[in-house]
Subunit: 212 residues, 2 copies
């Protein structure tokens, strides 16, 4: 099979990912991206006029991936699903690739107030994750895992908290910050929300059970 | 009195503030800053070699201002002090100048992972505000306004939450997001922490009392 448009697009997205991880956003050039793929700069420009067009497509792909990941979670119990979504925001030691990607996204986020197209993607991702969190809380009320907490309010609170924690961890270069915030979130917010059984599942997931 | 070094520095910092608000960080040039002051570009370069040097000085000034603002708060009761610190993160309608400043700082924050000097300032500001929050919680325990909550844990949680809320508000262009998060924070975290009297002070401060 020859190189279809779909193939090239995928290769370019993959190259963008690698270039973002290596270079970050501000200093990224179309040449860097071409250098990461077997694609020539001219083929790159055939698909995408500007770096902005390319990054908008990259963000669209990222949003699709988040959607797929959230759909994959749907079969688990509400506590595990909640844990998994929150876990996205925790960057552990040695996760250098994920850290580099989120560092580049933090940069893009910083440009979003000045760029309608980036901003629209940030808003879409926000809505997606917030709705998923609210669904999880709602399902948890039905299953009896969660005993209180308005789904929309909780979703907004959880997302702001974990996102803020990761942002501060990256900008301040403080490993473990997001993990500390997750523990505080459990102690001050989630523990009040959880049934006894839910609390046990959570403790097992965070490994806190073993530490006590 | 002639133009002393201190005068020029102050004028340059003031011009940097206005230029950041107008242009943001990424597109900011030394010329923009000179254009905002009565300072020539050459005098600007006499004081600061690079845009980075200038912005590091600007961040240092900002940190000093935060320090002064926090010191000014020290006489108020713990609930009012807590409210005032959290209020910094709430950007209301019509606060366009503050919003523009924090938008520029969000951009700078996005560069911090790649820049040691910015990162060090982000970390300093983080430490300053976190310590202030922990002191407030500690004083609140002594005064009986707060009935539980480990000061360090609460400070980390509150800061991550409000910072995340403001960041999402700015990046997603969603007015009222930080305010909604503050309300959720009250409902799920602070209400459990506050004495009855403290809850009343808080409600009066947020104007929630009138809305009920």
């Amino acid at each position: 099979m020859g190189d279809t448009g779909e193939d090239s697009r995928e290769r370019i997205m993959d190259a963008t990912y690698r270039a973002l991880i290596e270079t970050g956003y501000a200093d990224l050039t179309m040449n860097d991206i071409a250098g990461q793929s077997e694609t020539s700069t001219s083929l790159l420009h055939y698909h995408f006029d500007t770096k902005e067009d390319l990054l908008v497509a990259f963000l669209d792909d990222l949003i699709e991936r988040i959607e797929r990941d959230l759909a994959d979670l749907a079969d688990a119990d509400p506590v595990t699903r909640l844990y998994d979504v929150i876990e996205w925001y925790v960057l552990g030691a040695g996760e250098t690739e994920r850290e580099a990607l989120h560092t580049a996204i933090l940069e893009l986020r910083g440009q979003a107030p000045y760029n309608d197209r980036y901003r629209e993607r940030m808003r879409q991702a926000d809505r997606l994750i917030r709705n998923a969190l609210a669904d999880i809380i709602r399902d948890g009320h039905e299953s009896g895992d969660f005993t209180n907490g308005d789904p929309e309010t909780m979703a907004t609170l959880l997302l702001a908290t974990m996102d803020g924690a990761r942002g501060r961890q990256l900008a301040g270069g403080k490993p473990g910050y997001a993990k500390a915030v997750r523990a505080a979130l459990y102690e001050h917010v989630l523990a009040d929300l959880f049934s006894e059984e839910a609390a046990e599942i959570w403790s097992a997931l965070t490994g806190e059970a073993e530490d006590r």
